[in-house]
Amino acid sequence: MTAAAAGDAAIGAPARARRMRTPNDSPLKILCLAPIVIWYAIFFGLPLVFLLWIGFWRVENYQSIPDVSLQNYQEIFQNWVVKSRYGLAMLQSFWVASTTAAIATVLSFLIALALVFAVPARRQRLALLFVIAPFWSSYVLRLYSWQTILSKNGVLNSMLKAVGLDDWRLEIIYTQIATRVGLVHFLTPVLVVILYVTVINIDRTLIEAARELGASRWQAFTRVILPLSRFGLITAASFALIMGLGDALSGALLGGGAGASVLGKYPLYSAMLMTDYASSTNLPRTSALATILVVAMVAMMALGVWVAERARRRVSE
């Protein structure tokens, strides 16, 4: 203790009455957060506040007037089902997004399982790199590629024709099936990463223990791997659902704006939002429409976090 005191004195730090700090404790570290905080405040927080605010403005003589009115929301919800069919578009969005999330999650889980259990440990990083490589190409470019593949006289149908299967022509371009194809391709790399991390962190001895207790491979999967992947699966699925709800490009380029699904030929809500923005001068109404989508997405996210947190607590409690 005296040695430490002497050392303090030697480096010119007189004994002051202050809280002891650990060597890792720097008052400057909070500053590292400054760039991201400023970035988010200017380019995310501020625009979001504007968006929410403008939703309450009024339009008179093609002029937006700052106000606090619920007129836009009234108009939207009056036309929720009839006329502009915002509600049906929202339903279409939820239907497409949730089925896309389910397909993408299952597909990505299979890929993650294959990566972890079938690829030798030292090749896994490389394999993962290949799986997420599409993520680095432009999303729009990928959608145009899918257009080329899926269109009426596209790559897929040409190939079917070449092998004499003219009767099996795929008519999926400009339907919501094509929308889903684009979305799944977009989402898979991200979901694979989430699920790979989940599966690789499952203690292998638990799987061995299950097998050793008499479980078949399938039982080891359903009773150990699957329940221990729950947190990751729910996280991945809610991520996919939110991305699916917000995406307008796949619906526009592959779904043809108002592609058909089992629900009927309705556009996605996000696509309708884009049309509304592009075709009308009613910016307050567009903002109100966008606010509704933001609220729906936040609600989805909250639900996802809540369910995932429950799954996590069940395991790690």
Binding site: D203, T205, L206, E208, A209, A210, R211, E212, L213, G214, A215, S216, Q219, R223, V224, P227, L228, R230, R314, V315, S316, E317
Partner: protein, 406 residues
């Protein structure tokens, strides 16, 4: 070979496991009687865990055969084996509660819920976890996890229970309690236990027989007492207990004694069965607690001149460290109070003594040094030499060597 009457519960025939570049388990043969508690002991990397994984079916063997109650189970897949493993880190399922963990093995097949519940509760009673059945695994202490792991394995009524260093994660006090518990449960159920550990206290205090392994091979199989008192090989002598080893050359052999010329002078050792030939290089083994520190030895005792290098007081005993004249390190454990030796100075010269009866010779071309340590037939029919490997399945306390009595 296998008569129903004294059929061994577990039989290993030249079990070998080669990985790329090295042999983890090398020609291991062993017979284990039903209801026996066998400890496999050795330093890390000696192949004991690999051997256990082979027994469990988690690892395949390169060559050899594995028999359980006479049935060849070498190629039976892991989930169809009648063995159960208790894991070093317990490997309890974190997403299930205590009841579901214990019931896991029973619920894998079509089952009656009431029957399963009854068996789980009975087993929880046996391991003292009845009041914790609805707890989550994360809420349990190390000792409680250990009990659940034990119950989860035993409730499936395995023919053989395999335990992989199950107590290594527990603190010293709890380890002692669990040792007693394990022994009690083993005796209550009469299940054969194969217990892998690197801790000789655990092995010696629980096991009926101890298998000492080194570099994939069995060095010695015997009762704890005999392994401790009469180690068969250099490795066992160094690995087990606190033994002093004197290298030397046999100078004379008569009816009762063998004289070995060591660095510090001649040592006399009482004969036990087969004796080495004159001129052979051998090692004399003397336990540290059989050495005496005195000005002069008793009649017939061996005397070793030494220099004191250090002393440690361990409660009821003093542990001395000496250097012999030729630099051999010599350890001496004396039951004495702290004060009686307090005056000795480091580097003081003195003499220590031991009786010829407390010494044994290893490392000669007799039974102990037989290189094919796994081949039971290779042990010469020496009168008093205990079976080197694979003792007869009918387990009786190995008789004391004839030469040991004065």
């Amino acid at each position: 070979m296998t008569e129903a009457s004294d059929q061994p519960d577990l039989e290993l025939l030249s079990v070998t496991k080669r990985f790329k570049g090295f042999t983890a388990v090398d020609e291991v043969s062993l017979k284990v009687r039903r209801g026996e508690f066998v400890a496999i002991m050795g330093p890390s990397g000696c192949g004991k865990t690999t051997l256990l994984r082979i027994l469990a079916g988690l690892e395949t063997m390169t060559t050899g055969q594995l028999r359980i109650r006479g049935r060849d189970v070498s190629d039976v897949p892991v989930n169809l084996r009648s063995t159960r493993l208790v894991w070093q880190n317990y490997a309890l399922f974190p997403h299930l509660d205590v009841f579901e963990n214990i019931a896991f093995g029973l619920t894998l097949k079509p089952h009656d819920k009431a029957v399963v519940s009854g068996r789980v509760k009975a087993m929880a009673d046996l391991v003292g976890m009845r009041d914790f059945l609805d707890r989550r695994i994360g809420q349990l202490s190390g000792g409680q996890k250990q009990r659940v792991a034990l119950a989860r394995a035993l409730v499936t009524e395995p023919e053989i229970l395999l335990l992989d260093e199950p107590l290594s994660a527990l603190d010293a006090h709890l380890r002692l309690r669990m040792q007693g518990e394990l022994r009690r449960i083993q005796q209550a159920l009469g299940v054969t236990f194969i217990y892998v550990t690197h801790n000789q206290i655990e092995a010696f205090s629980m096991a009926d027989r101890v298998v000492v392994m080194n570099a994939g091979r069995i060095e010695q199989v015997d009762t704890p007492e005999r392994i401790y008192t009469f180690p068969k090989t250099h490795f066992v002598a160094r690995f087990v207990g606190a033994n002093n080893l004197f290298e030397g050359r046999v100078s004379a052999v008569d009816e009762r004694h063998t004289a070995v010329a060591c660095g510090h002078g001649t040592v006399t050792v009482t004969n036990r069965g087969a004796t080495p030939a004159v001129g052979e290089t051998v090692t004399v083994v003397v336990q540290a607690d059989r050495m005496r520190r005195a000005a002069a030895g008793g009649p017939g005792e061996n005397t070793v001149p030494v220099t004191l290098k250090g002393r440690e007081f361990a409660g009821s005993q003093n542990i001395y460290l000496f250097d012999g004249l030729d630099g051999t390190e010599i350890k001496l454990v004396a039951q004495e109070s702290m004060g009686s030796a307090a005056v000795m100075a480091v580097n003081a010269s003195m003499t220590v003594h031991f009786s010829p009866e407390d010494a044994s010779i290893i490392g000669y071309a007799g039974p102990a040094a037989a290189p094919a340590a796994d081949a039971p037939a290779q042990a010469p029919a020496a009168v008093s030499a205990p079976p080197v490997q694979a003792p007869p399945p009918v387990q009786a306390p190995t008789p004391e060597p004839a030469g040991a009595a004065p």
